[in-house]
Amino acid sequence: MDELEILKKQWQSQEQGLPHVSYKEIYKMLLKKSSSIVKWIFFISIAELGFWTLLSVFVPESSTKFSDDIGLHNVMVAVNVLNYTVFATFIILFYRNYRKISITDSIKELMQNILRTRKTVKYFVIYNVSASLLLIIGINFYYYANQDIVFKFMTEDYGISNISQERFMRMFFVIQILFGIVMIGFVLLFYRVVYGILLRRLHKNYNELKKIEA
């Protein structure tokens, strides 16, 4: 195989034509991990939207019928529209952060982008937690103000009988409060675990960047 031997002989001579990457450039590459972290934030936010959408498909019909019956239909639609709009806005923001981080070259810009991403995620979490909290509190106030209707439709829709209104309502609110706490706890835990890990990594990268910038 003569040609291969010729190539082998000449193999090392190509080195002069190879590009050279400087110490600082290599160092910077080590920190590029940021872009993949931000990419994950983007993907997870989409997955999350998908999860909530899927969940709403599986909500039992009796439950939607109940909220329709007591006159919350329009409110629920409005809440959903608002929620999806805000979610979509955040997803767009996450995507823009990701694009920006993956094309930056200067360390300074990268640092600014990391800070911006962290802020966006923070607002996203704050929005989600407070929105669910407000929704739960609001609905329960509505229930409280319209106890008669709630009792009437609850007993009709779910076929409950042999219970006084007072006792039923007491049980109802206890369950609502417990459910609300579990729900908020779940949301908080989710964000703490998923986004918390990613944000901590971003922060670590940020600190490393600060060291080479200094």
Binding site: L4, Q10, G17, L18, H20, Y27, M29, E208
Partner: protein, 188 residues
């Protein structure tokens, strides 16, 4: 075949090995890594040139290899030469990345294929032969390419076998088959 398991395990180890992130030790680790990579970067460039066809993908692959090397670095404790260890991680990265984007890389532009010689001027036929050979090597599948690369780098079969995680006999047999393949490509 390839010791992808080792490769993956190395990547898993990063988290346990780099807990103390701001310690002077990790600072020293960074410095020694970057210095060594800077010194040995030609190896990575040659792999990039072999596995990609334009400067953008060349740079992408270089960066990807750098990151993979850095992730695997805590496991590298000088049991082999830095360059030997580098061959393994870099080739593994090139092969896995290449697998992912096979379709986009298949379209070859001629410019990227050419083998650049900057040493003495050669007569046209030798030059032409070199180009044809290099093009043929680039056309091989990713795994054969890795073997030829190590061969061209003048590694002996023992080293080739170790780097690719195959037996020495297997490496020899494979290399002979590749030579056969290249012969048929060049003289159809």
């Amino acid at each position: 075949m390839y010791n992808f398991y080792d490769f993956c395990n190395e990547r898993k180890h990063i988290n346990t090995n780099r807990k103390a992130n701001n310690s002077p030790l990790s600072k020293k680790l960074e410095h020694s890594f970057v210095t060594q990579l800077e010194k040995n970067q030609n190896i990575v460039h040659k792999i990039c040139r072999l596995y990609t066809n334009d400067s953008d993908s060349h740079n992408d692959l270089f960066q990807e290899i750098t990151i993979q090397l850095w992730r695997a670095y805590p496991k590298f404790r000088g049991e082999a030469k830095f360059s030997t260890w580098m061959y393994r991680v870099a080739l593994n990265t090139a092969i896995t990345l290449y697998r992912k984007s096979k379709r986009t890389i298949k379209t070859q532009d001629y410019e990227g294929v050419s083998f650049k010689i900057t040493a003495e001027a050669y007569d046209d036929t030798t030059e032409q032969q070199l180009q044809l050979m290099y093009t043929a090597v680039k056309g091989l599948n990713d795994i054969d390419k890795a073997l030829v690369f190590l061969y061209l780098e003048d590694r002996n079969y023992k080293e080739i076998a170790e780097t690719l995680g195959i037996t020495e006999v297997n490496a020899r047999v494979k290399m002979n088959r590749i030579k056969e393949k290249l012969r048929t490509i060049l003289n159809p």
